[in-house]
Symmetry: C2
Subunit: 206 residues, 2 copies
DNA sequence: TTGATTAGGAAACAATCATTCCCTAATATC
DNA sequence: GATATTAGGGAATGATTGTTTCCTAATCAA
């Protein structure tokens, strides 16, 4: 990936910058179309339309289509991570924090965002078999999420909201499966009732 | 889809059949490559190689690539359904039948088959947003599996192996999420311990 | 054996793809 | 104001795609 102008670093811009341009906004467009259609089904035309950039501009900022996808993946993961952390922060103890994280996952798996899909799930399914780079990113992200959930379980065991006999690692891995599955089912447009599903899932912490 | 010669109906073959040829065997090859690479990333060349058929032969048996995919999807679903039913049959009561079903899912999500992936999950993620036909097949299959699991729960409630306060429909939907997520995580090559994961998942039936 | 019929194979086809190239327009420095 | 520099745009370019077409070889009916 090459360096690209960001709003966060406007001073260091070289001369000859035509007008305002935000890479993150462009990447958000790329995320939208990559999530919805996947990597291979997204043509450069659709990509440039979604990014509101011309073909040449995209190839001036990125080496190739794969580099755009990687950048979109990284931004997606960054944004989602922040959303998940802030969902966890809404809980008063470990158990409640985990409950809010699961609820957040269900919400994001529903409606227009759910229909659009998750780029991590998409990469796992579409690319992990043939693209070692993306597979490494996917497994890293899954492990990060898993570690985060395991840490919430351990917090709950310390604050007494989750019994000590619960295996943090195995339960976290099962919950990762649940959350990734939610994105699959959500993309297939099956309705998901957050309160009911999460209410049942919380049995795993008994 | 057009009619194609099957081993199960050899008598009705018109004259001029060069040598033995089994559509199901060819479709198994198509399933292999479609599961691993997905729909768009699979070229006709890779498809014909996997099916051990020439280009013209494939287009003589199917209208287009999409029809091959649909046929492969249908056969995949048929085979997997049979495997799941026979896994369920290994249990003595509803709870044990469900446990064997979940165990079967974990096993199939691991190793070489896990790395290859599930064509239902692949279709949900890659096609359901842009292909109404495949989306309908995916949702139908998810609902079939969900109904099957819900029926196992109800059997367990009748035979006393599962408490009556368990909500069969909601629990089944959550388990569908788990199983589909298993395929995602398995494709990303994270190791899955069947006994431990299923042991935890069975808490949902308490 | 002969004729009708069809699967299998490979080359030819048009369309679409990702990518490259060049031009224009707009700034910052001098 | 003049010049150098660069982001943005769009047409041109190979490569690759899915599909069609034609030919060959093999089989069954007569």
């Amino acid at each position: 990936m090459q360096k690209a102008a960001r709003k966060s670093e406007p001073a260091s811009n070289p001369p000859g910058r035509p007008r305002e341009f935000d890479m993150d906004t462009a990447l958000d467009g790329a995320i939208r179309v990559f999530c919805e259609r996947g990597y291979h089904a997204t043509s450069i035309g659709e990509l440039t339309a979604a990014m509101r950039l011309a073909t040449g501009s995209v190839y001036k900022a990125f080496r190739d289509k794969h580099a755009v996808f990687l950048a979109a993946f990284e931004r997606y993961v960054e944004v989602r991570q922040e959303q998940t952390r802030s969902a966890a922060a809404r809980g008063a103890n470990g158990r409640e924090r985990l409950r809010h994280v699961l609820l957040s996952y269900v919400e994001h798996s529903q409606g227009s965002e759910g229909r659009r899909g998750c780029i991590v799930v998409g990469s796992a399914v579409e690319l992990s078999a043939v693209d070692p780079v993306m597979r490494a990113r996917v497994t890293a992200q899954l492990k990060t999420n898993e570690t985060f959930m395991a840490s919430l379980i351990r917090e709950g065991q310390v604050d007494g909201s989750i019994p000590g006999h619960v295996d943090a690692d195995d339960t976290a891995r099962l919950m990762i499966c649940m959350t990734q599955g939610l994105r699959v089912v959500g993309k297939a447009r099956l309705p998901l009732d957050g309160d009911r599903l999460v209410g049942i899932a919380m049995k795993l912490l008994d």
